[in-house]
Symmetry: C2
Subunit: 349 residues, 2 copies
DNA sequence: ATGAAAGCGCTAACAG
DNA sequence: CTGTTAGCGCTTTCAT
């Protein structure tokens, strides 16, 4: 049933040579071992004719190196992660590595077992966008000394290099913009709580308020997931409050979609009835009913840097000092923020 | 540097047993080999304590089975493919398989080398959404007898099972809808030519015309890629023609985004100035400036079926008869089609 | 009820 | 310049 692939052995015997010679030639060590031009060409020709391809399982077993890196991501269908996945795969491929992919579905248990699977498959390194709620399993992986880098979500107290956006600054900028446009009752729809991007963004939200000496209404900080459903539900709820916020700071692209759905269901218009700014720019952001003002991240760069960082670690065979890299975000102004009358509290007070 | 993982050997010697016994117990063959309860428990306890994990490289080498499947996709950042990737990964994981991922960037050469890489890594099977322009490399892979299934794009004359949407019927429905709304000058912005989804969709476009005895203006069938840029450029061009089409049938979600960009740049409105229907429904489709009428595919089902089909093949160890599976599409009517005065040619003639 | 040994396909140390 | 051999970690046949 299975076609018999040629092996070093079969080629060697066919040629009346030893496996080592064939192996040497194939690994470009002909000159180092002073192998004669004739045998070299003989071997090269034979391997080409037979379309010989080395068994990477055997190679990996022997070399303890698989040129494969494991990548675990919480939701590949989220366009934010999809675009990062693209750049991770591409950078890795360029550097000679393949990607073993796992979608953890925002579930720590799946993440844990998938990581174990990858370890068993002897990947050379790990890029993880962790769910972010649990660290214990990551800690045990750190102990194995396998190179790894965290992407997007990180743990400040964990000794692992990471690359992420400057979520704090991005959120600060976003909420500042809202405030500068006269908004003082601003809701914040969070993503998964206790994950670093969420924490940093919420902190930015708070600090923007503090800087402008604005009261922080805790009941306006709502939500608990990066998904659309969360955006929908929380917005529905927000619009039922006695005091309805004049603006929403949405912490992810998916949340925004849900929020938009709720807003339009309630017969309201952005930005006339309610303003909005959203984290994550997407190709469609500008084409929404109201073109969305967003905080754009450098998705492709995040993936690229993380991959290079990892492969550096793998190939230099040393742990790099586990620093975090924060990439700047940038605000793309479109039409979802309304400039409203600014009640100057200080002037009144 | 590297922490010494326990191996069968190290465990066996620590326990004063042989590797074979340990292996047997770990593979659940204790009863078959009448291994005493005590040794069994001894071994189980030791492996748990030491957190033993079998080296899958060694296992794969020996067993000729890796529980890994290769998945190559032309553009993971395209939300259509991202959502399929999600369901492929999930179904595979549930059935005990990991995914080796490669993004071919719509480039046959990358596809070819990536497939080779996967073969070298001894994946148990292949799911391929091929670029679709070249078959020769796929043909040689077929000859190796490795289980494979094509996803989305297929080759009718190639002996490989595939799963895809009923693109022909979907396009037929789409263009019929346009025609029923009075449109007779309908542009078709194609994706990558000579790929099956594109061909089938264009054929649907044509046949809808034929059925309604409408003239097919070849100059209205334009474009050559599934990307946004193509949609933008071709729409720009279409809007410069002497006779401007009253409607556009866009063959992909990305093309539509580009078309929308061009249309809005020209100061036109959908559907007042021009109507539109697009293949691929996306979460954002309903929130666009003009909520888009789309042809929705069953993304997650496509991925699931393809994966199960493949794993069936792998585990049953026989080639299934290479049939194609076409999943029905469905039209989601929103606001992007304007009902226009219907010029009844027959009545005039 | 358990062990010894071969071998999957490869690389590298050692030997000429 | 080339070959022999050991061994990566595992499963499985053959012994006992």
């Amino acid at each position: 049933m299975k076609s018999n692939n040629p092996t070093l052995k079969s080629i060697a015997s066919k040629l009346g040579l030893s496996v080592s010679t064939v192996s040497r030639v194939l690994n470009g060590k002909s000159s180092r071992y002073r192998i004669s031009k004739e045998t070299e060409e003989l071997i090269l020709k034979a391997t080409k004719d037979l379309n010989y391809m080395p068994n990477q399982l055997a190679r990996g077993l022997r070399l303890k190196r698989t040129n494969t890196i494991g990548y675990v991501i919480p939701d590949i269908s989220n366009p934010f992660f999809a675009s990062i996945a693209k750049s991770v795969e591409k950078s890795a491929r360029k550097l000679g590595y393949s990607i073993l992919l796992c979608d953890s579905e925002e579930n720590t248990e799946i993440e844990r077992t998938s990581l174990q699977l990858m370890l068993n498959r002897k990947v050379d390194g790990l890029i993880i966008s962790p769910v972010g709620l649990e660290v214990s399993h990551l800690k045990t992986i750190v102990q194995t000394n396998i190179p790894m880098v965290l992407l997007d979500r990180y743990f400040p107290d964990l000794n692992i290099p990471f690359v992420t956006s400057d979520n704090y600054q991005g959120a600060l900028d976003a909420v500042n913009l809202l405030i500068e446009n006269g908004h003082t009752t601003i809701a914040c729809i969070q993503g998964l709580r206790n994950t670093s991007p969420n924490n940093d963004r919420v902190k930015g939200y708070r600090d923007a308020h503090i800087r402008h000496e604005l009261f922080i209404d805790e009941s306006l900080i709502v939500g608990d997931s990066f998904g659309e459903e969360n955006g929908y539900i929380e917005t529905k709820l927000l619009l039922r409050k006695k005091i309805i916020p004049t603006a929403i700071f949405s912490v992810s692209n998916l949340i925004s979609l849900g929020a938009i759905r709720a807003i339009s269901e309630e017969g309201l218009k952005i930005p006339n009835d309610i303003s909005m700014i959203s984290f994550d720019d997407q190709p469609y952001s500008r084409f929404l009913a109201t073109p969305m003002t967003t905080v754009a991240q450098q998705n492709s760069q995040i993936g690229q840097i993380a991959t290079k960082l990892l492969i550096d670690q793998i190939e230099s065979n040393r742990r790099i000092e586990p620093r975090g890299i924060f990439l700047p975000t940038r605000i793309i102004v479109r039409d979802s923020i309304k400039r409203i009358f600014k009640l100057d509290l200080k002037a009144l007070g």
